[in-house]
Amino acid sequence: MHLDHAPAHHGPAAVSADVTRPDGARRALRIGLGGPVGSGKTATVAALCRALRDEVSLAVVTNDIYTREDAEFLRREAVLPPERITAVETGACPHTAIRDDISANLEAVEDLEDGVGPLDLILVESGGDNLTATFSKGLVDAQIFVIDVAGGDDIPRKGGPGVTTADLLVVNKTDLAPYVGADLGRMAADARTQRAHLPVVFQSLRDGAGVRDVAGWVRERLTAWTA
């Protein structure tokens, strides 16, 4: 091969997971956020942008299923300048676009680096899907799975690839637990059983609980990425 291949990685450059860009610079860390519809992925992305935008150069890719609402919401909330937010269309199959055929997402990520880079961090939000939808390692370097207490407190017990293998599990909307009769203690115990040593954060974007922990986890990833 010619030019620009990353160390310990053969094949054409900038094809997917290569850690260097065609110009030789290190590319941005990519973190995926997956989870069921309505669990709070977009709200978590917004919270992360607010927490990190003064420290690092970041951008967001959303994967809506049939609208561009997530991207529009983020632009409306002005969590980032509009040119740092891109929507990918997924053809009715959100999990395909983040796992089986990641072409459109890789293109979006590259265009952001070309257009508004250099970037330190790109957050990729998946279209809401079922509990088996996880990101390809060709697309992201780490993934956060977001579930919420109102979706049923038995979700951690049921497991599935998202709950079991995500690098960080966020159990969101803890403020709603009293109203839906969710047992947070049981959710925490079940998550520990399913995930062994992998971290879990209980978060509420209403009262702010856990928000700093999620941002802190992303900061640790960034430190490791640039080390």
Binding site: P12, V15, S16, E89, G91, A92, A104, L106
Partner: protein, 224 residues
């Protein structure tokens, strides 16, 4: 010609971004033009003999070694709708990424340098076929197959059409698809002597018009 390589390239699961596109089926379903297997077959037949033929000839020509930039310009000239040109370039860029990872070749790297934002998909398809050790007819077969299978699988998702019925549509069109491939390859072989004007320019005005309308929808399942 390696049949196995052809199957890899023609596989609907080849990760080149096609799953997000309906080949005009989403707009046609909304316009009431595709409602069942019979109307899907009519739609696909129309596509086969227009977009399918043109794409197949472009792909065959690229596989024979014609200049990609000239072919890309010829594809532009044969695609009146800006939305379809954008979609074709986007799909070309995505295919190129997958192709470079799958069949690394200097020619594909050169294409990526020349068209960083993507060349028309059939042009990339033809060069991908070359890189995979395939010939012009193989490239043309992939193009016509996509021109029919794209709308057929999208219609399964859009209408809940019985997947067996949709697949049977593709199968019934197969003999016609073979003939389209022959025409496409014949035209492509003339490009060396006559230039890209030898390529067919069959167009489907309604596909172009519906694609423009579709690009303006705010709620849709498919990118095109």
């Amino acid at each position: 010609m390696s049949r196995s390589a052809l199957l890899v390239l023609a596989d609907g699961r080849f990760p080149a971004g096609g799953h997000a596109h309906s080949g005009g089926a989403e707009a046609a379903v909304a316009a009431g033009r595709i409602t069942d297997a019979a109307s899907l077959e009519d739609f696909c037949r129309g596509r086969l003999h227009t977009t399918g033929l043109v794409s197949a000839a472009l792909a065959a020509s690229a596989a024979l070694g014609a200049d990609p930039a000239e072919l890309d310009a010829a594809a532009d000239a044969r695609t009146p709708s800006p939305a379809l040109r954008t979609a074709a370039r986007r799909l070309g860029r995505q295919l190129l990424r997958a192709a470079r990872a799958t069949w690394p070749s200097d020619e594909l790297d050169g294409l990526a340098r020349r068209f960083p934002k993507g060349a028309h998909q059939p042009v990339v398809l033809g060069l991908t076929a070359r890189a995979a050790g395939l010939g012009p007819a193989d490239a043309a077969h992939c193009a016509v197959h996509e021109s029919v299978s794209g709308p057929a699988t999208a219609t399964v998702r859009l209408l809940g059409l019985d997947p067996f019925d949709a697949t049977a549509v593709s199968a019934r069109l197969a003999p016609e698809a073979d003939r389209v491939v022959e025409r496409a390859v014949d035209a492509a072989r003339r490009v060396a002597g006559e230039g890209v004007d030898a390529l067919p320019a069959a167009s489907a005005p309604l596909l172009e018009i519906l694609a423009e309308a579709h690009a303006g929808w705010s709620v849709r399942l498919f990118a095109s």
